[in-house]
Symmetry: C2
Amino acid sequence: MSRQMVRPGGRSARVQASVHAAVRELAAERGRDALTVPLIAQRAGVTPSTVYRRWGDLQTLLSDVAVERLRPDTTPGDHGALPADLTAWAEQFLDEMASPTGRAYIRDALLGDPDGGNAGRCSAYAAEQIDVILTRATGRGERAPDVETVIDEVVAPLMYRILFRPAGLDAAYAQRLVARALGGA
Amino acid sequence: MSRQMVRPGGRSARVQASVHAAVRELAAERGRDALTVPLIAQRAGVTPSTVYRRWGDLQTLLSDVAVERLRPDTTPGDHGALPADLTAWAEQFLDEMASPTGRAYIRDALLGDPDGGNAGRCSAYAAEQIDVILTRATGRGERAPDVETVIDEVVAPLMYRILFRPAGLDAAYAQRLVARALGGA
């Protein structure tokens, strides 16, 4: 998301959509290291100054694009019970975030983001998905931990190891984290 | 650390020391955004090509400097019992890493680090300190969790929240994480 509020359908929103699309296309065609603001502006059909005014620099633009790509586009699946729901979500989260593309987006989201707003949005996306799962569980009458506990015991270890300590990062590890988090519920 | 092996006392080590010192001095004098390879090389008394040959680019050099700054320079304090030792360590880790300087070093360590080697070293530093604390505890006859459990339950939540979710990140939070990790021991 850009640093300014965007009115859906307005010119501002159209500029954002075309610039984001240009970044994704050019990154796919030429690789991230070939991206420059003039190249992106040309593809998006805007002036470089529009990009600089809106995003400040390339790193901030890449961070905004990354956060958009990290936004979940589906509701967590309903497998009928909390352990199954949270395990499936954690395995999918790990698959997506630990992939080369996922890692690149996480790095971009963190690095062009001096005020931490984009990193905060990534965390909010995970918290929203977990809240859906936990609310569904309590609706079934299941005992459930709170969202922050699942962030601490499942999301944080997965993301920490993706960024800092990737050895042994597999589905079985995600399953153990979920089992430990729910054991405390 | 640089990408190549460095023989202590050799020319390679002297170049690394002078270039790292130049980065620290210039960052303090002019701010990180003013840093350039030619400026750093001039201050270090080497040619820019020496820096490019050794580090590839500025981002990689800043990442190496950051990891050196994040290396602990003291052994964890001995307070006579595992809960006190681990709590004191976690509070200090949080203080250092959550400070503006600490956050900047973490970001640098992650950013100029495509192969993840520097991020891995940051994690190894924490694991080594925790191992000292846990080994001392078992030597006293105390029950202790293993290092990876403390990474998952204390280090990962602290680092995740520093990077993604800083609200409510205080000493009391670090104390709760340690209590929960030791409760399972």
